[in-house]
């Protein structure tokens, strides 16, 4: 790839972010900042019970309160056939409860008032009569005959949602029969929540004069959401405009459609006034898309020397009250079948069963490409357990089983085609950076002194950038993505994409792609996303798909423009296209570099001096359908010290070596990795949405859903190797999720490693001080 100058700022330049200027001045425009004339406020009334019969909803008192404009109930919505809405995964979800409630904090009624304060007062006046029902919280009991059937609306009178399997069962079972060594681990990836700092919300604005509905909403996928509103609400799609303004973090939380959005729309249609609905934090944690809740068992079969022969995985997936997983329709367990990891072995079999419980719905991809985090965690844990059983160093075992570089593209036993990789290179760099050998020595000495120190390694492989349209769609919509570039007469440009940044820095990185391909300085390129009236259609930003898909679309669109520019350049230089060479920013005559035309000259000519037979203007659109997914990877190594007295785990060092192919903006990539590692840390040690036996949410506010502060967060050491994707136009792979996918195993492996000499093989996340202390007590380390 040609290197551009810092002035142009193409690929590989750490240029400062274009979006920052407004944010550092407090001039961002988030949904709650949207203020429209005549705007009113909506507030949800929610169920305190996890499972209860809805006997009556009395809205009279609430309606009598001055300033209250409407109180909408499930019965009201039922009249408009809107009491239920489809989820993104072949299920339906109650917008407002009718009949019964299925999880604590489920939406029961929607109050609309002149201001927030009145709406909150009125919500308290809505009288709801419940009859409590037996509660199902343990997914393992979901299919017990004794358990209540939760979903009376379904044909099938069972709490079982789906069974999904992939791989060659008989060959795998055979490999296990013949195996010299078998290792297994049962690991629960606890239910957690992305908790972006901005909660979900919207302003629905129906203009009765024009018949146009504008919805400003916290949406990671505005175009898909517009289509769903059209299909579900029966509103002509051209009359719906979805605008995603600045978004205060998404991490998957802002992919689904939530009842609050629908209620705000219904209220605006009814009242003809703009209706704002903004979640509180507790509502966000207790009712919107959770992640994980995978109860997994992995078994590895291997030879004595550590060569892995087979993997067998059985998983129970807790989806809560509705299957609101936001994932490709052909994949009920997302891309969980990436669970074979970075290792080369012939046999694998993986099965997943999904069940309903009385918990909030979801199963969204929390900073992860559809269950890839669960998969990476499981295999990296399993490999460590195998290393323990073999009394082998986990690094040695990994190296022995890595897919060799000459095997790419590699066909995995569960059917994926890994595009490219050099796992050993990333591993070796990480080992050198952290000084692995010396640390192992230190560990031995410490153990002799009775001190606890551990080293955790994770060599993860991701699968991102969904996806080839033939295999990937969400709710039927194919997972391509788009870019539209217009070059203005003065050589400046505007680009619009089907994706939507939530902090990833698209306004900067997409501009750098244009700069790379056309030589127009990134500073001269404006990037716009999130307005469905102006941006080309796309599936949005999640699953690390922006760079792999829309980024590719941007490059291809730019190349279309360059093709046309070449014709114009030839016309201006009075030569044939064949005589021209390109360097970022200009075409010049082969052998006569002084005879050249800059992209700016060409842009001007595109509107002022067009060659015969060529249409005016300089713009292009591309809808990119990736030939394959991309497979970012890396090796993370974590060093922990354990305080025997308190059970506290201190992360002493953490080295992250990532390989995301060619890098657009190293500064932004590092920022993404810092953030993802911090979320991984939180998942490994702090974050959990738990439920007690009555279905009460434990961890339903920031009091008990623990997000690390700067004090708990260690200093992250990052580095890179570069193995470009062979099929991506820029050789890029995407990186936003790698650190969150790869790090939990590194943390847990480190803690288990520190305790392995005591016979510890696994500890479930979140690894709290009391869990560690309990282990130490069991093992007689503390009295």
């Amino acid at each position: 790839m040609q290197q551009t100058s810092p002035e142009i700022g193409g690929m590989g330049h750490s240029i400062k972010r274009k979006e920052d200027m407004r944010f550092i001045q407090g001039r961002g425009n988030y949904v709650d900042d949207v203020h429209l004339p005549g705007m009113v406020y909506g507030q949800m009334v929610r169920s305190p019970y996890a499972h209860a019969r809805l006997k009556s909803v009395n809205t009279e008192k609430a309606k009598q309160l001055t300033g209250v404009l409407a109180v909408i109930t499930g019965e009201d919505l039922a009249k408009a056939n809107l009491a239920w809405m489809p989820t993104l995964y072949f299920d339906k979800q109650m917008v407002l409860a009718t009949g019964k409630v299925l999880f604590q904090s489920q939406e029961v009624a929607f109050v609309v008032a002149e201001d927030r304060y009145t709406a909150a007062d009125a919500a308290e006046l809505v009288e709801v009569e419940y009859e409590e029902l037996p509660v199902l919280v343990d997914p393992h009991k979901a299919t017990d005959p004794a358990s209540p059937i939760l979903r009376e609306d379904r044909e099938e009178k069972s709490n079982h949602i789906f069974h999904w399997e992939v791989g060659d069962k008989s060959a795998t079972d055979k490999a296990f029969q013949d195996a010299a060594v078998k290792a297994n681990v049962h690991a629960v990836f606890q239910r957690c929540h992305p908790a972006p700092l901005e909660t979900c919300g919207c302003v629905a604005d129906f203009n009765s004069a024009t018949g146009k509905l504008t919805i400003y909403m916290t949406s990671q996928a505005p175009h898909a959401h517009r289509t769903l509103f059209a299909l579900v609400g029966g509103i002509p799609e051209q009359n719906i405009r979805v605008v995603s303004p600045d978004i205060g973090g998404g991490f998957g939380n802002k992919v689904p459609i939530y009842p609050g959005y629908v209620c705000a729309v219904v209220a605006s249609l009814t009242l003809g006034r703009p209706v704002k609905w903004i979640e509180t934090r507790s509502e966000n944690l207790q009712s919107t898309g959770f992640a994980r809740d995978y109860h997994m068992t992995a078994e590895l079969a291997a030879d004595r020397d550590g060569k892995i022969q087979a993997l067998r995985v059985k998983t129970l997936a807790d989806h809560g009250a509705f299957n609101a997983a936001a994932q490709p329709s052909k994949f009920p367990a997302g891309l969980f079948s990436i669970c074979t990891g970075a290792y080369d072995y012939p046999n694998a079999f993986c099965e997943v069963d999904g069940v309903y419980t009385n918990k909030a719905p979801g199963g969204i991809a929390y900073r992860c490409s559809f269950r890839v985090t669960e998969a990476a965690y499981l295999i990296e844990r399993a490999v460590d357990v195998l290393a323990l059983d073999l009394k082998m160093d986990p690094v040695e075992l990994r190296k022995k089983n890595f897919i060799r570089t000459d095997k790419f593209p590699y066909k995995s036993p569960l059917g994926w085609s890994f595009d490219s990789g050099n796992y050993e290179a990333a591993m070796n760099l990480a080992l050198a950076k952290i000084g692995y050998a010396a640390l192992r020595k230190e560990q031995e000495e410490k153990r002799r002194k009775g001190e606890l120190m551990g080293l955790g390694v994770s060599s993860f492989v991701e699968i991102v950038g969904a996806g080839p349209a033939h295999t990937f769609d969400i709710a039927g919509i194919k997972m391509f993505d788009s870019a539209e570039i217009r070059v203005h007469p003065t050589g400046k440009a505007i680009c619009r994409m089907g994706t939507k940044s939530q902090g990833q820095g698209h306004e900067t990185t997409y501009a750098q792609i244009v700069a790379q391909e056309l030589g127009i300085p990134a500073a001269d390129v404006v990037v716009e996303e999130g307005d469905t009236d102006t941006a080309p259609y796309g599936l949005g930003t999640y699953a690390s798909r922006s760079t792999p898909v829309s980024g590719a679309a941007t490059a291809v669109a730019a190349r279309k423009i360059r093709e046309k520019a070449k014709k114009i350049a030839a016309h201006l230089l009075e030569c044939s296209e064949e005589d021209l060479d390109w360097e970022p920013g200009k075409f010049f005559v082969k052998g006569a570099p002084s005879k050249s035309k800059s992209i700016q000259d060409i842009a001007f000519a595109a509107y002022t001096n067009i060659p015969e037979g060529l249409e005016a203007g300089l713009e292009a659109v591309d809808y990119y359908d990736p030939p394959n997914l991309t497979f970012p990877f890396g090796t993370y190594i974590c060093v922990v010290d354990i305080d025997k007295g308190t059970g506290e785990v201190k992360v002493r060092r953490f080295v992250a070596v990532d390989d995301c192919g060619n890098v657009i903006n190293p500064m932004i990539v590092d920022g993404q990795i810092h953030g993802g590692l911090t979320e991984g840390l939180a998942i490994a040690f702090m974050q959990q949405i738990d439920y007690d036996e009555s279905g009460n949410v434990q961890g339903g506010s920031f009091m008990d859903y623990l997000l690390p502060t700067a004090v708990e967060t260690p200093y992250w050491e990052t580095d890179k190797t570069c193995t470009p994707s062979p099929h991506h136009p820029l050789g890029a792979k995407g990186v936003g999720e790698s650190p969150n996918v790869g790090s939990p195993a590194a943390f847990v492996n480190a803690v288990v490693d520190a305790l392995s000499h005591l016979g510890v093989r696994h500890i479930d996340m979140p690894i709290t001080p009391w869990k560690v202390w309990n282990v130490l007590k069991e093992k007689g380390v503390v009295s």
Binding site: A120, D704, P708, V711
Partner: protein
């Protein structure tokens, strides 16, 4: 998120404030730092009809040494303690404590008096004040009362403070030479309650024997706990490791924790044992200096 409506009252003198308290009884609530009351009101778990904002009452914010005591005013903020030179030099234990309370923004408003008056066994100052043998000065309709801290905490969330009284001062006897103290807290993250915490204050005599010992425990029982057995055991002994370990053991036996998301009761007892040993060791070390 949205608190219920209330009438706002802003007295400028203590008598005025007390008059309001008498007038409105339990319909009214004192607004001092407000850092626990306001979140409660936002969740509508608290809904006082009247808020008596005492923050504009002059002369209640000070940290001074006077007639053998350190005196802390009823409106003195945690942040002021944290950064006070007197505290840093003479009462490192109080600095330890203030530093681990909530977070910087909260400490800018939260007051020591409120932290005590709240009667929450999970608050940090009670244990420290128990270790220091502080006195709580209250002012009410019947005038001023001086309550020894060990009589102040009645039961869970209940103190000796009367409905028409306000905590106006905290008095801490100035420790003699060769005194030192420390507060150690284990929290799940900055801003959380203690899973358990221990305050220790010791005074050594010329021969290095423990003359005075004060030990307070946080969040391991229905009230803040004064570890009397451990104190008595240590008094008159040389604080060598074995002795401190034994004292710590006694302290953990005095703890009566119950399980919550922070961990099971047994863990919390074990934690008290460890933290007590560490806090005592640091206290002794500081006393030696």
């Amino acid at each position: 998120m949205i608190p219920p409506a209330f009438e706002y009252l802003r007295p400028s003198t203590i008598p005025e404030a007390i008059a309001f308290l008498k007038q409105y009884g339990d319909e009214a609530k004192i607004l001092s730092g407000g850092q626990s009351l306001i979140p409660m009101m936002k969740l509508r778990l608290a809904r006082p009809a009247y808020l008596i904002d005492i923050n504009r009452i002059a002369g209640l914010s000070y940290i001074k040494e006077e007639d053998g005591h350190l005196k802390i005013g009823g409106l003195t903020r945690e942040a002021e303690l944290e950064h006070s030179p007197i505290i840093q030099s003479r009462f490192p234990i109080i600095r330890d404590t203030a530093h681990v309370i909530a977070d910087p923004q909260v400490r800018n408003l939260a007051t020591v008096a409120g932290n005590l008056a709240h009667g929450d066994p999970a608050n940090d100052h009670p244990a420290t004040m128990l270790a220091l043998g502080a006195k709580v000065v209250t002012t009410g309709a019947k005038g001023e009362r001086v309550i020894p801290i060990e009589d102040f905490f009645v039961t869970l969330f209940t103190t000796a403070l009367q409905p028409d009284e306000i905590v106006t001062e905290i008095r801490i006897p100035l420790p003699p030479a060769r005194s030192g103290g420390a507060y150690l807290k284990l929290e799940r993250k900055v801003g959380d309650f203690a899973t358990a915490a221990v305050a220790a204050q010791v005074t050594l005599d010329g021969s290095g024997t423990c003359q005075h010992v004060g030990i307070g425990l946080t969040n391991v029982g229905p009230t803040p706990i004064k570890a009397r057995k451990a104190e008595a055991f240590l008094r008159g002994k040389k604080p060598d490791e074995a002795t401190l370990r034994q004292a710590a053991q006694l302290a953990s036996e005095e703890a009566q924790p119950s399980a919550d998301l922070r961990g099971p009761a047994e863990y919390k007892k074990g934690l008290v044992k460890e933290l007590a040993y560490r806090a005592l060791s640091r206290a002794v070390e500081r006393a030696g200096k």
